[in-house]
C-alpha cells in the first residue's frame, strides 16, 4: 500500500521532470489576457465584428437591392411593410440595405487606407528615426510639408483631373493620413535605437534593414496597434467628408458619408434617413476608440 503510494509519487515526479519544453507565455499572450479582462473593449470588439459581418453578408439575406425602387414605398418611415426595417428614401430604396452597402464602402475604405497609411508611416518613421542625422532631417521636413498641404484642395483637384474613381478616395486619404504615424513611430524608434539590444544586434553584424525589420518594427507594434485604432475613425470620417462634398463614391453606390449627407438635407421630413447611417457610423467610431483604449492598456508592458 505504502509502496504503491511511493511509486505513484515517484512517477508523478518523473513525469514532471520529463515535461517537455513548457509552452511559454509570450508578451502577446499576456496582452490578450489583459485585453479580455477589459469589458468595454471586448463588447466593442464583438459589436464591431457584428457590424462588419452585417455589412458583408446582410444584403444577401434581405429582399431588396440597394439600387432598386419599391414603388409602393417612397419616403416611408421604418415599418414592417415589405420588410423596410429602416424605412426607405424618397426614391423608394430600402435604407437598411443601403446602410449596409454603404458600410461596406466605409469600412473597406477605412481598412485599406488605414493599412496603407500605417505601413507607409511605420517604414518612413522607423527609417528616419533609425538612420538619424541628415536623412532624418530631410524625411521629417517632408512630413512637415505634407502637413502644410491643404488636403481638400488636392482631393478636389485629383477628382477633377482624374474623375471620380473609388481608388482615388483611398489614395487621397492614404497620402494625407500617414504623417501622424510617421512622427509617432520616429519618436519611438529614437528611444528604441539607444537600447542595448540594438547595440547587441549591431555588434553581431546584423544588416541595417534587418535591424529595422527584426528588432525595431516588432517592438513598435504596441504603439502602432494603438495608433491604428485611432487612425481608423479618422480615415472613415475623412471618407465621409469627401463623400459629403460629393468627391467620394458615385450614385447609386453609396457610403455612410453619402447617406448622412443626403439624410441631413431632408432631416425635417424623413429624420430616419439621417438617424440610421449616423448611428452606425457613431457606433463604429465608438467601438474603434474603445478597442484602441483596451489595446493601449493591454500592450503596456509596465502593467503586468
Amino acid at each position: 500500500m505504502n509502496q504503491e503510494k511511493n511509486q505513484a509519487i515517484l512517477q508523478a515526479a518523473a513525469e514532471a521532470v520529463a515535461a517537455p519544453q513548457i509552452a511559454s507565455r509570450s508578451p502577446w499572450a499576456d496582452a490578450r489576457r489583459r485585453f479580455l479582462r477589459n469589458k468595454a473593449a471586448v463588447v466593442s470588439l464583438v459589436l464591431l465584428s457584428l457590424i462588419a459581418l452585417a455589412c458583408i453578408f446582410g444584403p444577401m439575406f434581405l429582399p431588396h437591392q440597394f439600387d432598386t425602387t419599391d414603388w409602393d414605398a417612397m419616403g416611408l418611415a421604418p415599418t414592417l411593410h415589405n420588410m423596410h426595417l429602416f424605412g426607405t428614401d424618397e426614391m423608394g430604396r430600402d435604407l437598411l440595405v443601403r446602410t449596409l452597402i454603404g458600410g461596406r464602402i466605409s469600412l473597406f475604405v477605412g481598412l485599406m487606407a488605414t493599412l496603407a497609411s500605417v505601413t507607409l508611416g511605420i517604414l518612413w518613421g522607423a527609417t528616419a528615426g533609425f538612420l538619424g542625422g541628415r536623412v532624418d532631417s530631410i524625411m521629417m521636413r517632408i512630413v512637415d510639408m505634407m502637413y502644410a498641404v491643404p488636403y481638400l484642395l488636392i482631393a478636389i483637384l485629383m477628382v477633377t483631373l482624374l474623375g471620380r474613381e473609388f481608388y482615388l478616395v483611398v489614395l487621397t486619404i492614404t497620402v494625407f493620413s500617414w504623417m501622424d504615424m510617421a512622427r509617432v513611430v520616429r519618436g519611438q524608434t529614437l528611444s528604441l535605437k539607444s537600447k542595448e539590444f540594438i547595440e547587441a544586434a549591431r555588434c553581431i553584424g546584423v544588416p541595417v534593414h534587418k535591424q529595422i525589420l527584426r528588432h525595431i518594427v516588432p517592438n513598435l507594434l504596441g504603439i502602432v496597434v494603438i495608433y491604428t485604432t485611432i487612425t481608423v475613425p479618422g480615415v472613415i470620417l475623412t471618407e465621409s467628408v469627401l463623400s459629403f462634398l460629393g468627391l467620394g463614391v458615385q450614385e447609386p453606390m453609396t457610403s455612410w458619408g453619402v447617406l448622412i449627407h443626403d439624410g441631413a438635407a431632408v432631416m425635417e421630413n424623413t429624420p430616419w434617413m439621417l438617424l440610421f447611417p449616423g448611428v452606425m457610423l457613431s457606433l463604429t467610431l465608438y467601438c474603434a476608440n474603445y478597442i484602441g483604449d483596451g489595446m493601449r492598456d493591454a500592450l503596456d508592458p509596465k502593467d503586468r
Binding site: 515535461a19 517537455p20 519544453q21 513548457i22 509552452a23 511559454s24 507565455r25 509570450s26 508578451p27 537600447k195 542595448e196 539590444f197 547595440e199 547587441a200 544586434a201 549591431r202 555588434c203 553581431i204 553584424g205 546584423v206 544588416p207 534587418k210 527584426r214 528588432h215 516588432p218 517592438n219 507594434l221 508592458p301
Partner: protein
C-alpha cells in the same frame, strides 16, 4: 591563466590599440552663435592584448571605459588611432572586413535584460548570430548548437521558448553570454557585465566566464568599476581617468605596488573585510569632482585632484612609460626603476 612576464614580450598580440581617440561634437548654445565643442571621451589609449589573456579596465563613471569598448568594436566611430586585430588594420577596414571580424569579436553588455530583444524567444536570440553569419546552416543544426550552448552556460532546455522578461538578471546575462559565444569568438569585450547583478550572482557569472575562457581559449577585455571583481578575473589591468590611461600593469604589481597617485587613491577605497584593519586604514579621498571632458585640465588631466601635483604637471602631458617590467605608468613624477 596568469601570464608570465617573459612570455608577454615574445608573444604576438591579437589586438593592438594605438592612440585610440573617440571624440564627440557637442552643441554649445551659450553665446551669440551656436558653436560646437569637442568632448574627448577617449583620448589616446594604447594597449596590447594577447591570446587567452584578460585585460581589466577600471575607472570611475564617465572616464570613457564604455566608449573605449564601443570604439574598438566600431559601434561608435573612432576619431583617430589604430586598431590592429590579428594583423588586420580595422581602422581602415570596410564593411565587408568588419563583418568577418564580428565573428571573432563579441560583446557582453551591462544591462542583461535591456540587451535582449523583448519580442524574441531565447532560441531566436541565441541563434541570431548564426543566422547572420552562417545563413546556410539548416534549422536543426542551428537548434542543436543553440541547445548545446544553452546547456554550457547553465540554462535548461525547457527554457528555450521563453521570453527574456521571464528570466532573472543572472539568467539574462547567461543568455547574453550564450549569444556572444555561439560564433566561437576569440575575444569577448565585457562591458560591466556584472554591475547590475546581485553579489552572489556576480560570482556565478564571473566564474562561468573564467571557465569558458579556459575551455575556449578566449581573450577577454573586462570593464568594471568594482576593483575586487577586476582583481579576481584579470591578468593585467588598465586604469583610466578622463579618457586617458593612468597605469597599465600586471594584476599583482598594480594591487601591491601601485605607481600612479590615482591608482593609489582608488585602491585605498576598497573596503577590507576586517573591521579592525578597516578602521585603521587611511582612505585617501580625492578632492573635487571629475573635470569636464569637454574642457580637460592642461598637462596631466589628473593634476587638479592629485595630492602630489607640481607646477610641472600643468605644462607637460605625461605619456605611458615603462617603470619596471610589470608596470607602465603615465605620471611625470614616477621614477623609473632599474630593471635587472
Amino acid at each position: 591563466m596568469s601570464v608570465e612576464t617573459a612570455t608577454v614580450a615574445e608573444r604576438q598580440p591579437i589586438l593592438s590599440v594605438r592612440d585610440l581617440k573617440v571624440h564627440f561634437k557637442v552643441k554649445h548654445d551659450k553665446g551669440w552663435l551656436p558653436s560646437t565643442r569637442t568632448l574627448k571621451a577617449v583620448d589616446g589609449i594604447s594597449f596590447d592584448l594577447y591570446a587567452g589573456e584578460t585585460l581589466g579596465i577600471v575607472g570611475e563613471s564617465g572616464c570613457g571605459k564604455s566608449t573605449l569598448s564601443r570604439g574598438i568594436l566600431n559601434l561608435i566611430p573612432a576619431t583617430g588611432g589604430e586598431i590592429v586585430w590579428l594583423g588586420r588594420e580595422l581602422h581602415k577596414a570596410g564593411a565587408k572586413e568588419w563583418q568577418a571580424v564580428r565573428r571573432e569579436v563579441q560583446m557582453i553588455f551591462q544591462d542583461p535584460l535591456a540587451s535582449l530583444d523583448p519580442r524574441m524567444t531565447v532560441a531566436q536570440i541565441i541563434a541570431e548570430p548564426l543566422h547572420t553569419h552562417y545563413p546556410e546552416l539548416g534549422k536543426d543544426e542551428v537548434m542543436r548548437r543553440v541547445r548545446v550552448m544553452m546547456q554550457r552556460v547553465g540554462l535548461t532546455e525547457q527554457q528555450i521558448n521563453r521570453y527574456p522578461h521571464e528570466f532573472s538578471g543572472g539568467q539574462c546575462q547567461r543568455i547574453g553570454i550564450a549569444r556572444a559565444l555561439i560564433l566561437q569568438p576569440k575575444l569577448i569585450i565585457c562591458d560591466e557585465p556584472v554591475s547590475a547583478l546581485d553579489v552572489s550572482i556576480q560570482a556565478q557569472i564571473i566564474n562561468l566566464l573564467k571557465e569558458l575562457q579556459q575551455e575556449m581559449g578566449l581573450a577577454l577585455i573586462f570593464i568594471a568599476h568594482d576593483l575586487a571583481v577586476v582583481k579576481h578575473i584579470s591578468d593585467r589591468i588598465l586604469v583610466m581617468y578622463l579618457g586617458r590611461e593612468m597605469e597599465l600593469a600586471e594584476k599583482h604589481a598594480l594591487y601591491d605596488q601601485p605607481k600612479h597617485p590615482y591608482t593609489k587613491a582608488l585602491l585605498s577605497a576598497i573596503p577590507i573585510p576586517d573591521p579592525e584593519l578597516e578602521r585603521k586604514k587611511t582612505i585617501q579621498i580625492l578632492q573635487g569632482d571629475l573635470p569636464s571632458p569637454i574642457d580637460p585640465p592642461s598637462g596631466c588631466v589628473f593634476r587638479t585632484r592629485c595630492p602630489q601635483a607640481q607646477p610641472l604637471c600643468a605644462e607637460q602631458q605625461p605619456q605611458l612609460r615603462v617603470v619596471n617590467a610589470r608596470t607602465q605608468v603615465s605620471c611625470l613624477l614616477a621614477t623609473s626603476e632599474q630593471v635587472a
